[in-house]
Symmetry: C2
Subunit: 339 residues, 2 copies
DNA sequence: TTGTACGCGTTATCAC
DNA sequence: GTGATAACGCGTACAA
């Protein structure tokens, strides 16, 4: 058991002053070669490392980034974290992860916990409850304090800050268009309620593609699930009451589950009915048949978010200029559609 | 823009001393009702919150937990994080997540980054490279400094610390036994190289069950993959060169992919060939057919780890007594075997 | 009842 | 070339 050693310890042991030690360790020109060597040798021997907390207090910089997300089990958020971690780590930052579990209150509590000096900035994606309530005071307070915030994926226009999203509307548009090109006539969409910013945008892309085609829109072919949770019965009923030959799903879980239902009804995929989902996760890759998806490029999104945040944190001037980066979605073609 | 307010600011504004403010905010009996109300009102108005960093420096307690894991995209680790986060948050702790990406060097760097005061303790699962090298000096150094460590899942006996694992051997044993009871005769195992502690234990459980039965062991029915990465061709060759009616896989990805291969060969699941995997993730649940798995109870594991760590962090006496908690695995029966 | 002084570990400035 | 001092923000033992 050898407890952490401080400057003071070294100073006492070597019978010099604390400031001499501090300078010696930084190879300051002021200090004689002799003392420098003595101090550095001693420090190395006892494995001296400066205390991060003390430095944080002094510099008012923690080198920590707070990441607040609704859920960590979803593959998309997981890849975003990985992207953030990658970029942040390379820049010497640590990542503190907090989960809101889709709860407004938890989101608020987590942010308050971190906003009192623990972090230099936030990267976050709003909980569904927050988007539903439309209450963003906790974000406002944080930005008012001058703490930089980057929102990704689930964002709001009510807050002035940097944002990173993919073009959800375009993604859904591309997917729907693909169906149309392949001659599908009865194209359904399974999504969540509109309060989720991404669901809304995706629904619009779907509608846009249909309006541009001869097919036109049939609102009854849109199934809006109340939550992100799987409602197996809801989807089952939907399939029983509609004649469909293509389905666009707002996430991969809905899609994979829907495929199973279709198969149970004896439909062939993609001949009788084709599927496209969002999120390029393990589920899509290993589903049977494998699922065509609109990739959200989570890792890229994380990296971009981290870069935006760290740039802002490290920039001296406080520019009040914010940007919104819109990443291009891409279609990952697999066996759930023709190719 | 209203920057953070400090005790000093309040003191100056109200023309009292800093310590008076500090005491007033803690409702100290020493302070007159009058000043207390004045101070508290002012503090509330300007939304005063004590600076975490300053408190950390003073208390030598950060209320941060460092979590170092090999990978965040695997469902198992994801659920463990969730468990840790849940427990830790309830206790007022934050979770700093670092990814080693299965790399020894990254693991070392991450730990060093955090060990200089940023955290009160570590929860970690070893990278495969670390287990392969058998070099645990970075762990030794940390524990030598008196920083508590909890290892989970991928552990080592070389380090004295609390540990949390599931009984991997038992899990594999249960699964194999299940196959045997159901009359399967040619039971294979797809695993990774033995340097991963969990793979080794699982292989032993598999062997134990076979030895106890009349079937006996056929080493050629064990496929050892060099890494956690999917080697599709390796599995394909294995299937082509063996007559199998049951397969135990060390993770769900191997299992789901193997099922697909079996189906492509025209085999029926579970009649012709049955499958069991490890890890109760989304993949297992939504596979077609759904996959029977040995559940590792990741969330529980995270909670238990967090509890062990926080208990140790908060205990005054430094007991040099460590425990290893062994969680019971359970079989989650789904359609990839008879039931 | 209020205020002073000190310490947590570090760095920067200034004096010797 | 070296050291004393102040400061970051807070809490607390002790003094007034």
């Amino acid at each position: 058991m050898k407890p952490k050693i401080t400057l003071k310890d070294i100073a006492r042991e070597l019978e010099v002053s604390i400031s001499t030690v501090s300078k010696a360790l930084k190879n300051s020109e002021e200090i004689s070669r002799d003392t420098k060597e003595k101090v550095q040798a001693f420090a190395k021997l006892y494995n001296y490392k400066p205390n991060n907390i003390a430095i944080s207090l002094k510099n008012k910089r923690t080198k920590n980034i707070g990441v607040v997300i609704p859920d960590i089990v979803h593959h998309f958020f997981t890849t975003v974290i990985r992207g953030i971690e990658k970029y942040a780590n390379a820049k010497g930052y640590n990542v503190i992860v907090c989960l809101s579990e889709e709860s407004f209150d938890k989101e608020v509590i987590n942010m308050e916990m971190l906003a009192n000096g623990s972090i230099d900035g936030f990267i976050m994606s709003l909980s569904s409850e927050t988007q539903q309530k439309g209450d963003f005071n906790h974000l406002k307070e944080v930005t008012d304090q001058g703490i930089p915030v980057v929102l990704f994926d689930r964002i709001t226009n009510e807050i002035d800050c940097d944002k990173v999203i993919i073009d959800d509307e375009l993604g859904a548009y591309m997917a729907t268009k693909k169906f149309i090109e392949q001659g599908k006539k009865n194209i359904a969409m399974i999504t969540t309620d509109d309060y989720l910013s991404v669901s809304k945008a995706r629904t619009q892309g779907y509608l846009k593609a249909l309006k541009e085609s001869k097919l036109g829109v049939d609102e009854s072919k849109i199934l809006k699930m109340p939550t992100m949770e799987m409602d197996e019965q809801g989807i089952k009923d939907f399939f029983d009451s509609h004649e469909l030959d293509a389905v666009l799903c707002v996430n991969e879980i809905f899609a994979v589950y829907s495929m199973r239902l279709a198969q149970q009804k004896g439909l062939r995929i993609p001949e009788d009915i084709a599927f496209i989902g969002f999120t390029d996760g393990l589920l899509s890759k290993y589903a049977n048949p494998s699922l065509t998806v609109v990739s959200q490029h989570g890792e890229k999104m994380g990296e971009v978010s981290a870069k935006l945040l760290i740039d802002k944190v490290e920039s001296e001037e406080e520019e009040e200029t914010y940007q919104t980066k819109i990443l291009e979605p891409t279609l990952v073609i697999r066996d759930s559609i023709f190719h």
